[in-house]
Symmetry: C2
Subunit: 197 residues, 2 copies
DNA sequence: GTCTATAAGATGATAGAC
DNA sequence: GTCTATCATCTTATAGAC
């Protein structure tokens, strides 16, 4: 009963968190339902009381994460900030996503291609296109308004930024070494002004 | 007979090239020996006439590639160029490796972690350490000699460069769009001088 | 919500014929 | 150098008891 909005409450989310961690660590296909069940302290068959399939699990992990993330991007796009500030905010929001939702980011980075081969995960390609539009829009606005160099190849610049930001999920460890804010600070500085003295 | 230096000549290399392409595309573990055999037009059992195991195949793919690549890095490190030029050369050599040995780069980027769990592939972790040393050495030399900004976080700078350069293997397509030289030109310019106007 | 038991298919690898 | 045939194992998923 309770609030009528959340039919299944806690165990389900617990299992999803365990699955997300394993998918991120070993990849979706290389993680077996037995791995997930073992980590949860139950047997593999018992997982199917909670979820239809392994695919359903990764589906439930990715969708809410992406809704949140692209909501943040939309807010930045719609803001009154100048293009340079918007770009900086987009970078910071992305590093923050790595801090707060590392497994989700890693799964999207590593397994989107493979998952995309199933019709069910067609939305992953859409999200990829959407992400490209966000970054390209910001870069083009920067060039147009004169805050970014006019000789930039927009497509290559987009790819460099996207790659550097998202692949950081491979090495960034929350609570160890740098904070995500420090990482974002250093990257923004290098991206905007370069490493030359 | 022939030159006595190459016992098995051509079919073996042909099969390795097919395997490399598939490993790069779908990942090592997600590529089955049947996939490789199908692509080669033979049956899976026949592969074992040429190779001990799937692991042997990826071994033979990675080792000669890494020998070549790190030979190039060593040459740059030992050269008389100033630090800025050395760094630029290292970036260019890396993009060139993506052009010429895309599958090998992709396998190393995507599967080194997984393969590294087998003792047999311990050399992959060594190569990773060696790669880090190359980049960090070049960046530190640049800061010391004053050609790079003194406020750089060397470790973060290394990670940003490494990530951007190597992950390009995910999107770079030889013969389509930009050449590897154009990609390197644009990246070197952004890395050294930034995107701000 | 978890267990027992098991089906149905895929996978890496082998032995021996051609 | 490739094929036939096959094994042992692992994998996702299901049915029904507790």
């Amino acid at each position: 009963m309770s609030a009528a909005s959340t039919p299944e409450p806690s165990r389900r989310d617990e299992l999803l968190a365990i699955a997300a961690r394993l998918f991120a660590e070993k990849g979706f296909k290389n993680t077996t339902v037995r791995d997930i069940a073992d980590a949860a302290g139950i047997l593999s068959g018992s997982l199917y009381h909670h979820f239809d399939s392994k695919e359903s699990m990764v589906d439930e992990i990715l969708i809410p994460f992406q809704d949140r993330l692209f909501g943040q991007y939309d807010e930045i796009l719609a803001s009154d900030d100048d293009a340079r500030t918007k770009l900086e905010r987009a970078v910071r929001v992305s590093f923050e996503a790595i801090e707060q939702h590392g497994p989700e980011v890693a799964i999207f980075q590593n397994d989107a291609d493979y998952l995309g081969t199933f019709e069910r995960f067609g939305y992953l390609a859409d999200r990829n296109t959407q992400s490209r539009q966000v970054w390209v829009t910001l870069i083009e606005e920067g060039v147009r308004t004169g805050v970014l160099r006019p000789d930039l190849d927009v497509t290559l610049t987009y790819r460099f930024i996207r790659d550097t930001v998202w692949v950081a999920v491979r090495w960034y460890q929350p609570g160890k070494g740098h904070t995500h804010t420090e990482v974002a600070d250093q990257y923004v500085r290098i991206l905007l002004d370069g490493i030359s003295s």
